[in-house]
């Protein structure tokens, strides 16, 4: 018996390879938005690598944290590379997450039978928010300090046990080295492991039901004599080589940012990140990073703190029920002009909210913030009715594809 036969008999890997790569049939008409999924996988791996390297030099104490982080920048061999990869990687992951989700909304990928793929994916996004927040606090810059204080104080709004929860999360009455210790534990073990587990589930659930595509029609509906979908192609080698090309383009962008614009106009690395924590020097208008600011704008749009928190929580949770709000038999917005326009308004509004969330809390922004929050919520509230009655065009029986 050859070694290969001996190994194959005992190994689950060949079967997994076939199921998820060589014989996973994906629609052949994926467009550019479909790169985001594999790029997210790449970025999570890179984030783990750079995170591992910076962790090796990080000191989780109130006195040591800030200096240790800059020790990496100035003294560790290629420390700046590890650090910038990790910092800029976060923002790029969120760029990809938003593209990936927008793709799902444009083509109705959240619809039956992919509801669980969507829900698991969205949970990953929420886990990433938590991961980013805990990471944010670790350098113990002044921004870390005040962002940590503001966000943990949100727990105070929980009825009855709010104060107790806040103290538990902070590890004391205020931010301190104890906070850093528990946030580090959360950042590098618990939340990260949850993210990895969710990603595995996400892909297993997707491969059980098969991928959607820009036309929103099921390729499994037309199968060839060999039992495979006629419009499907094996993931490996077709999409694996295509994604390899995507990796290349994406890494050029990532590299250009790291080497030539690491702070990205101080959007990826905010200015107040570059001054140490100072409980006496409060940041008057501490704003969250760009990828969380749409929700922050909604929080702020209501003057009552608790009502604002409720609105924000509702806004964050709404996408979970999206699969059941959409009631049109046609999935892709390619054939649903009205929903497509609503979606575009929704996306633009999300950008506007991100902008507003970065502004100081001035009265002149209140109206725009409220309007933005209203449009955000209105999309989800209107969708069940619009999707029920909107006129649609008939999707084609087979996917639209032009051979390259």
């Amino acid at each position: 018996m050859s070694f290969k036969d001996w190994f194959v008999k005992r190994s689950p890997l060949p079967e997994m390879w076939r199921e998820h790569m060589a014989e996973y049939y994906a629609p052949k008409n994926f467009n550019i938005f479909y790169y985001a999924g594999s790029l997210l996988l790449l970025m999570v791996v890179l984030q783990f690598l750079s995170g591992f390297l910076v962790l090796a030099h990080y000191i989780p104490t109130a006195r040591g944290a800030y200096d240790s982080v800059y020790g990496i920048m100035y003294d560790v061999h290629y420390g700046w590379l590890m650090q910038y990869m990790h910092v800029d990687g976060v923002s790029l992951i969120f760029v990809l997450l938003y593209v990936h989700m927008a793709r799902g909304m444009l083509y109705g990928s959240y619809r039956s039978p992919r509801e669980i793929v969507w829900i698991v994916g969205y949970t990953t996004y929420l886990a990433f928010m938590a991961e980013a927040f805990f990471g944010y606090v670790l350098p113990y810059s002044n921004l870390s300090y005040w962002a940590g204080t503001v966000i943990t104080s949100l727990f105070k709004s929980i009825p009855f046990i709010g104060g107790w929860v806040t103290t538990l999360v902070r590890g004391g009455p205020g931010m301190s080295g104890d906070t850093l210790n528990r946030f580090m534990a959360l950042h590098v073990t618990l939340v990260f492991m949850i993210i990895v587990g969710l990603i595995v589930l996400h892909i297993l659930y997707l491969h059980k039901v098969g991928s959607n595509n820009p036309d929103g029609i099921e390729i499994k509906a037309s199968k060839g004599p060999d039992g495979h979908p006629v419009d499907g192609i094996p993931f490996h080698p077709y999409y694996s080589v295509k994604d390899l090309f995507g990796f290349g383009v994406w890494l050029i962008i990532f590299g250009a940012i790291i080497f030539y614009a690491p702070t990205f106009h101080h959007i990826f690395l905010e200015r107040t990140m570059s001054t140490p924590a100072n409980p006496l020097k409060s940041l008057p208008d501490v704003t969250p990073p760009w990828y969380l600011s749409p929700f922050y704008a909604m929080l702020r749009s209501i003057p009552n703190k608790n009502a604002g928190i409720i609105l924000m929580v509702v806004a964050v949770l709404f996408p979970f029920v999206l699969p059941w709000l959409d009631r049109n038999p046609v999935k892709s917005t390619r054939y649903r002009p009205i929903t497509r326009i609503m979606l575009l308004i929704f996306f633009i509004n999300f950008f506007v909210l991100a902008y507003l969330g970065e502004q100081p809390p001035l009265p002149k922004y209140f109206f725009a913030e409220r309007l933005g929050a209203f449009i955000y919520v209105a999309f989800f509230v209107l969708l069940p009715f619009v999707s029920k009655f909107e006129p649609t065009r008939a999707p084609p029986a087979r996917v639209r594809f032009r051979a390259h």
């Binding site: 920048m73 077709y238 290349g248 050029i252 101080h266 990140m273 100081p360």
Partner: protein, 233 residues
Amino acid sequence: MKKYVIWAGMTLGLLTGGAPAVFADNGPQLLTPHYTYNAKTIISGARLFATNCMACHSIKFMRYEFLTNDLGMSKTDVHKYIMLPTGSAFKNNMTSAMPTDMAHKWFGLPPPDLSQIVRYKSQDWIYTYLLSFYRDPKRPSGWNNHLFPNVAMPDVLAPYGGIVNERGQVLRAGDEPPPKFKEQVTDIVAFLRFVSDPSVVQRHDDGPWVLGLLVFFTIAAYFLKKEYWKEVK
């Protein structure tokens, strides 16, 4: 294809043009220093900083050796122009010799560390700040600043730039003509920018190689993909 070009164009436009404008601070009007960012400007800024600022301010993340390793300054020059006569070693951090309790006594607070000041406040802010001092008899130090009201720092650059009162009238001309003085201030700003991120030298050295390699990889991947996808009808 055309569609993608338009998309890419829009995204790029947003990122390069829109983003900075969108995220701009709503602060006071600042002046912008104009210069070429190279070793010469940085070194001349380093010399000015060492003579005029390091008595009070540390740049604690910097080390003297970065000046030779990254900027190509000679060791003798560093000894002669940069190092304070405090017997500091070459590998040491560039810290000021001022004892903290003395600083408290003189200024009410220790002069802040300036390692990250360009990251924190921006080049424009520092440039404007250094050009905004004026004589104010009401202040204990005799100095005030338009950008940083009631600042505890004296106008240490007055010998070069001269002294003005609150309304900008010249009380005493400086040793340097105004354009030359602005150039000196610009050099200090350039040096502090370097101090905020010395990796810039290595980044710009390595960048073209890394990106070149990635471009090569991407082109190869593109043709590989094209070859495979020929079969997809």
